[in-house]
């Protein structure tokens, strides 16, 4: 286990370095941050002075090395648009995104697994039919349309839930949470549901397919022949065997929920990192864009590592030395 873990950990560094290079390089050649900072009337001297101050006159590779060097110390530079440290800006908004992502992930996983198991075991029940049809709708509609639909029904027509913002937040250390206030909960429900819709259908269909296969396996037949209670067979003996592929997909999905909440955050004007990213693109705010991509790729790498470790815990066969029978 330790060896496996260390090997996975070692592979993180090259991945992160390559991502850092790509994101830095890509944004370096897009747009002109100086123009945005100085405005139309700036003189050539002003430009040169600011460029020298910010290090933009140095060769590209030196700028990159400096970027990496500072990044390692937790210094991601200063936003060219807002003029504040990038890390502060991102940390300020990260809790909003993470709360939204984790809550919708929790919705998607719990409802997806429960409904997946049910649709597999009782395919002809009314709830199964409704959820199978519903899952088709949720998977075919674009995400923003679901968001707009939810706003129309619950905010405009019924007026139950707010259509934008995060509600009141409470500060715990540097983390701000909306989950401790009533208005916070009200505000998070719609975006979380809209973000969860697609993931839920994916998990539901995956769990259902895996469950149908597992229920026909010999060990389930043998477990039934031994007279084990149904609940134990369904939710322990069978469900655990469906989990390996589900964990893979769930891990990737959690990554994309965090990274690509951009659309949902825009629709609901959610003050998260995605919205910050969209606004930064407009002003070619290189430090923020590069840092955002770095953080997103780091989240992906970290989730993948956790997923690998979960495999290890789930399936004892992977723990066998070398895997040779």
């Amino acid at each position: 286990m330790t060896g496996f873990f260390l090997r996975r950990l070692a592979s993180v560094f090259p991945v992160m370095l390559v991502t850092a290079f790509l994101s830095f390089a890509a944004f370096h050649f897009i747009g002109d941050p100086l123009q945005n900072m100085l405005g139309q009337e700036a003189s050539a001297q002003d430009r040169a002075r600011l460029a020298a101050e910010l290090g933009f006159d140095r060769p590209f590779y030196i700028q990159f090395l400096k970027f990496v060097g500072f990044a390692l110390q937790g210094d991601f530079g200063i936003s060219t648009r807002v003029g504040r440290p990038v890390l502060d800006l991102i940390l300020e908004r990260l809790p909003a995104t993470l709360e939204l992502a984790l809550l919708s992930f929790f919705f998607a996983m719990s409802a997806g697994i429960a409904l997946g198991v049910m649709t597999a075991l009782r395919p002809s029940s009314a709830l199964s039919r409704v959820s199978m049809t519903g899952s088709l709708i949720a998977v075919s509609l674009p995400n923003f349309l679901i968001g707009i639909g939810l706003i129309y029904v619950f905010s405009i027509k019924l007026g139950w839930l707010p259509s934008f913002g995060r509600g009141d937040t409470v500060k715990i250390g540097w983390w701000t949470t909306g989950l401790l206030t009533k208005s916070g909960w009200k505000a998070i429900l719609l975006p979380a549901i809209s973000l969860a819709a697609y993931q839920l259908t994916l998990i539901l269909r995956l769990v259902r397919a895996e469950m149908l296969e597992v229920m026909h396996s010999d060990y389930i037949r043998f477990a039934r022949a031994r007279g084990l209670p149904k609940r134990l067979i369904y939710f322990s003996y069978a469900l655990k065997n469906t989990m390996v592929p589900v964990v893979t997909v769930a891990g990737l999905q959690l990554g994309s929920i965090i990274a690509f909440a951009v659309v949902t955050e825009t629709v609901f004007q959610w003050p998260g990192v995605g919205l910050l990213f969209i606004n930064s693109i407009r002003y070619s705010d290189v430090p923020i864009m590069a840092t955002y991509l770095l953080i997103v790729s780091f989240i992906f790498v970290a989730i993948n590592m956790v997923v690998d470790c979960i495999y290890y815990l789930l399936d004892p066969r992977l723990r066998a030395v070398g895997g040779i029978k």
Binding site: S217, Y219, Y237, K240, R317, G322
Partner: protein, 572 residues
Amino acid sequence: MTSGRPPVLSIRGLCVDFPSRHGTLRAVRDVSLEIAPGEILGIVGESGAGKSTVGAAITGLLQAPGQISAGEVRLSGDIIDTRDANAMQALRGRRISTIFQDPLTSLNPLFTIERQLVDTIRAHRALSRAEARVEAVRQLEAVGIPEPAQRMTNWPHEFSGGMRQRAVIALALCSQPELIIADEPTTALDVTVQAQILKLIQNLARERRVAVMLITHNMGVISQITDRVAVMKSGEVVELGKTSTVLSRPCHEYSQALLSVVPRGDVKLSRFPVAGSARNIDAAMKWLLESNSQHGSGGADALVELRRVNRVFGVPRLFGSVTHGAFKALDNVSLCIRRGEVMGLVGESGSGKSTIAKIVAGLNPPSTGELLFNGEDVYAARFEVRQHIRRQTQMVFQDPYSSLNSHMRVADIIMEPMIHFGLEKNRQLAEPLMLELLNAVGLEASAARRYPHAFSGGQRQRISIARALASRPSFLICDEPTSALDVSIQAQILNLLKDLQEKLSLTMLFISHDLPVVRQMCDRVTVLQKGQVCEIGEADDVFNHPRHRYTETLLSMIPSMHRPVELIQATS
């Protein structure tokens, strides 16, 4: 039964139906059986005879849409209602347990043996976790697992096949049932392990007075441990009686036929006896013979030769460095297959049979040593030479269900090698040859238009053979070609292979764990043990006068049968 106590299981007039759009199929008709405490009743028959359906019906585990349409099942005198799902759920495990065929898939791979045992024990008895654990250790000890307390914490994949089947038996017995239904309990096991497991089932039945219904297609297993036997054909019991009586003086003609097709380990016959009339397959095979005429003159020189072959499977370690605790699958194997002969390859699973097959087929290079084909070093050959050798070497695989592409029509499956190797330019030219090949392996021309799933196991194996022949090979590798088939089908396929081999003077490597089959098929035999060659010799010599101790052990494990006297005289 003879004693005054009621039989554990008593079935009267059991019928099982499978309704479908095309009408109702009656899988079991009017079956009546009884099993006394401590008695082992064998049910024998070919696949599709309804043997397993009887077992499934008693436990209420019939596959949908199967249903019991008539009959009465009594368990120790009580009538049980097999249609009441809840009552059956309460019955399963507690009073009736089942042992399934494949110990590799019967155990849940993600739970320890301990967890599975403790859950099962606690499902039936009000014990605490700790008490159930003690009981689990006792059960494992009873089925002969050494150091049970320690082994119990292992995962199923850490057990060998035989140990897993022991664990499965412990799981079936830990709820203290009155009746055990053993559905092909040893089919997936090696001969040596099979003998131990059968002995174990027999002892447990005697000691605990458990009634056992042993379902199998293997006559040897029946003769070894059953007290009485029921022969089933097309859903009906055609003969029921004491095992010794049925085996020595079978009354029904189907029982006689079933007994006569069992391959024999004691004498060599020219052909496998076939139940019913065998199809004549003397077809025009000029095309097939064309390529072989060019080197038919060879005589007794070697066509395929393995020279000091080693094959090591490395264990990957931390940071990529390899070979710590490597596993040696083949250890200095030298083997020579002469032109036109059938070389048998026998040994238990794990002895390296399949590794040799892969190396000889050119699929997997040896770690050291070389493979010569017609004097040419295969793995060092140029591309054109490799292609030529690939065309010459063909393989028939064990599982006819997974070795055919289910998305291709039979015609395309057989024509693909012809066109791929440029033996025929296009489909128009290849088609008549394909039809002749189908005829040669005993299939109708109409088979060409259909997909593999429309065929039975034996027919699929015929398609595999036709496909292998389609590239006009001179060397055929058969890796357990009949172990997935019924005995009577097995005899037909083996006869087909034998006829083709003689007519086309094919060289053949025949791999099997079934020693009687090897004796009938092969000119010479190689015995493998743990990756090493123990013995190579003429088949008759090896079987009559084994020189190596391991060969003797293997031979002694063949389930012996009391043969009907008149049948021995009739066939030899």
